[in-house]
């Protein structure tokens, strides 16, 4: 089968294992991430694994894209150690504060800059934002179809993938034509562990960095100012749920329960 040109979008997120240390800055309404290490968004690891597996089946090339601060270079180096062929960091202060659409615009510009793609793979959602919007928005901007929450994936022929997508109610098997964007779920594969050999192989590969000046992007549509959605407030939800223990004989407990449910007359035969 012909080699595929595969793009994988990844987002560096605060390590989920340290999520109990995340706090919200009351003034800026942003997450305070200081001291919490960044990792590849967990579902993006599955996206990368899916890309690498397809490449291993029929050669091809996997390029990773990320819009993130310069510190994300380490995260992108990790994707190279896992088996990506090249990594592109889209980093510029003017990108900061962008919502999902502004982010998708920057990613779309980065992808266009680097060529044409048969397949674009994203994680279904990010661990921190969790909107699940960037993938579909990117597909719209690139003018290609998309499928979300892919949980099984197989190359069918030169121009088709066999995919299984899952929603709340059903699983569907689909024959999908390339070019295509998919977002993947954790069921799609088991991401490989880092290996020393992969780390050494990454020495020969570089992270390419582009700023806004390098990209075909309209500055009015990126960053905080170019974002149609703005965060008005961010707060920690305080749970007000309480457990109340009903005591007494089974009959007494039953009556109390019916009383709580507003069914006393009917239930207790009063």
């Amino acid at each position: 089968m012909r080699p595929l040109r595969i793009a994988v979008c990844v987002k560096p997120v605060p390590d989920p294992k340290e999520s109990n240390r995340l706090q919200i800055d009351p003034a800026t309404k942003t997450l305070v991430r200081k001291g919490i290490p960044l990792v590849i968004n967990p579902l993006d690891r599955h996206a990368l694994e899916a890309g690498i597996k397809l490449k291993e089946e029929a050669e091809g090339k996997v390029t990773v894209f990320s819009m993130a601060p310069p510190a994300a270079e380490q995260t992108l180096t990790e994707t190279l150690a896992m088996g990506a062929d090249e990594a592109v960091l889209l980093s510029d202060l003017r990108f900061a504060g962008g919502d999902t659409l502004a982010t998708a615009r920057v990613l779309a510009a980065g992808l266009k800059k680097m060529g044409e793609w048969d397949l674009i793979i994203c994680g279904a959602e990010s661990f921190d934002g969790g909107t699940a919007q960037v993938g579909p928005q990117l597909a719209v901007l690139l003018g290609i179809p998309w499928l979300t929450r892919v949980c099984q994936l197989k190359r069918e022929d030169d121009n088709h993938l066999l995919v299984t997508v899952e929603d709340e109610t059903e699983q569907r098997d689909l024959l999908a034509q390339l070019p295509l964007l998919i977002t993947v779920d954790s069921a799609v594969n088991q991401p490989r562990r880092l290996s020393l050999l992969g780390i050494l192989a990454a020495r020969k590969r570089k992270v390419i960095t582009f700023t806004a000046d390098d990209l075909p992007v309209d500055l009015a549509g990126i960053g905080l100012n170019g974002s149609p959605t703005q965060t008005r407030d961010l707060f920690t939800h305080e749970s007000t749920k309480k457990v109340e223990l009903l005591t007494g004989s089974p009959q007494q407990v039953a009556i109390q329960l019916l009383d709580k449910l507003g069914l006393t007359e009917k239930g207790a035969g009063q």
Partner: protein
């Protein structure tokens, strides 16, 4: 000065942590019961590329150096001090080949080491003791044509069952002065056997005990460095890897103790709030933290000096300080963790009692804390 790890070293730590957390952690409980090293531990370490971390690239290794090896030992030891020790002993077992072995010996063994086919150890200690090997060594090697015949028993050898190759030091001349020679022996050679196994307080999962050499026939070409240079070979192995390796095991134990104590302190509620709010607990967490940081500085610097090729004699006190301090810190930190956990501190399910037992094991391995002090004192004093 630059105290940051390189991007590559950070990735290496992460790779080792993934193996530790995903593969080793689920088996620790079983290892505590069976005291057996998991059969797939070395295949997994080989697949990850760790078994040949000190092996030159031309023999299939990565040649990343001592600091890199130490970082892997630390991460593995954070989950299992037993397996961290096993791995560092493997490294000290083949290091003499890398540094002092003939091209023939390197070609014969190092590709297999890198591929995980050869798991190594080193054998100098006998029943008479390890820190004064020349005084009490009774293992002998006698020339027989192109071979040597080794007879003797080595004890307290880690990986004595798992390893299928080892360096072994033997007396090769008695008069006018005792001479020692170090040979590299593999299990295809007749007369090389595993002897009794020790049952120990900690390091459950690490095999440790006797190696028996009974008319073991070894080719002359398997001598490392040359006849009469056996102690140099052994001390290179122990001084450039063994002691630092045990210090790195200590780092892992301290970090594991700190993590367990912090988690418990944040979750355990007494008097209506987590015990982390109690100053007595805060003091203990602070002490564990600076013990870890100070130990790391000493250990990483000693490893860095090793990679700078500082000669054995000049390096020895820095390695000794690292080993001594990290060991004492591991004992102290794990003890503090047991205290913070109170009654849970001695419950197996909470692991910290294991950290304390393992920390105690480090003290004697590769030279006791007191021997380390003698090495440090020799920086300034004769004797």
């Amino acid at each position: 000065m630059n105290f940051e790890f390189t991007a590559e070293q950070e990735l290496l730590k992460k790779a080792a942590r993934e193996v530790a957390e995903e593969v080793i952690a689920p088996r620790v409980e079983e290892m505590e019961k069976t005291k057996e090293l998991p059969e797939d531990f070395y295949p997994i370490m080989a697949e990850a590329g760790f078994t040949g971390i000190l092996v030159p690239e031309e023999y299939g290794g990565s040649n990343l150096g001592t600091l890199a090896a130490i970082l892997v030992v630390e991460e593995i030891s954070r989950v299992s001090a037993a397996l961290g020790t096993s791995f560092q002993v493997h490294c000290l077992g083949y290091l003499p080949l890398v540094r002092l072995g003939s091209p023939e010996l390197k070609a014969k063994y190092l590709p297999g080491v890198a591929a995980g086919q050869y798991i190594a150890t080193g054998a100098i200690t006998e029943a008479s003791g390890g820190s004064d090997p020349t005084g009490g060594m009774t293992t002998t090697a006698v020339r027989d044509g192109d071979d040597w015949i080794i007879n003797g028993r080595k004890c307290f050898i880690s990986n004595n069952k798992t390893a299928n190759c080892t360096w072994v030091t033997a007396v090769t001349k008695d008069q006018p002065k005792k001479e020692f020679t170090t040979f590299f022996v593999d299990k295809s050679m007749e007369g090389y056997k595993t002897g009794r196994m020790e049952s120990k307080a900690g390091f459950h999962g690490l095999d440790n005990g006797d190696l028996i050499f009974q008319n073991c026939r070894v080719p002359h070409s398997n001598i490392i460095l040359g006849e009469g240079k056996g102690i140099t070979v052994a001390m290179t192995s122990i001084g450039r890897m063994g002691r630092m390796g045990m210090a790195a095991v200590g780092l892992g134990v301290i970090k594991a103790s700190l993590d367990a104590a912090v988690k418990f302190a944040n979750e355990r509620v007494l008097y209506g709030k987590p015990i982390a709010h109690l100053q007595a607990v805060q003091f203990k967490i602070a002490e564990m933290t600076y013990l870890l940081e100070a130990s790391r500085l000493l250990v990483y610097r000693a490893a860095w000096m090793t990679d700078q090729n500082v000669p054995d004699k000049e390096l020895a006190p820095y390695v000794a300080m690292a080993k001594l301090y990290a060991t004492d810190a591991a004992i102290k930190a794990s003890d503090l963790a047991v205290e913070i956990l109170g009654g849970y501190g001695v419950v197996e399910e909470y692991h910290v009692e294991r950290y304390l037992r393992d920390a105690r094991m480090i003290w004697a391995a590769a030279g006791t804390g007191d021997i380390m002090k003698l090495t440090v004192a020799r920086m300034h004093l004769n004797g």
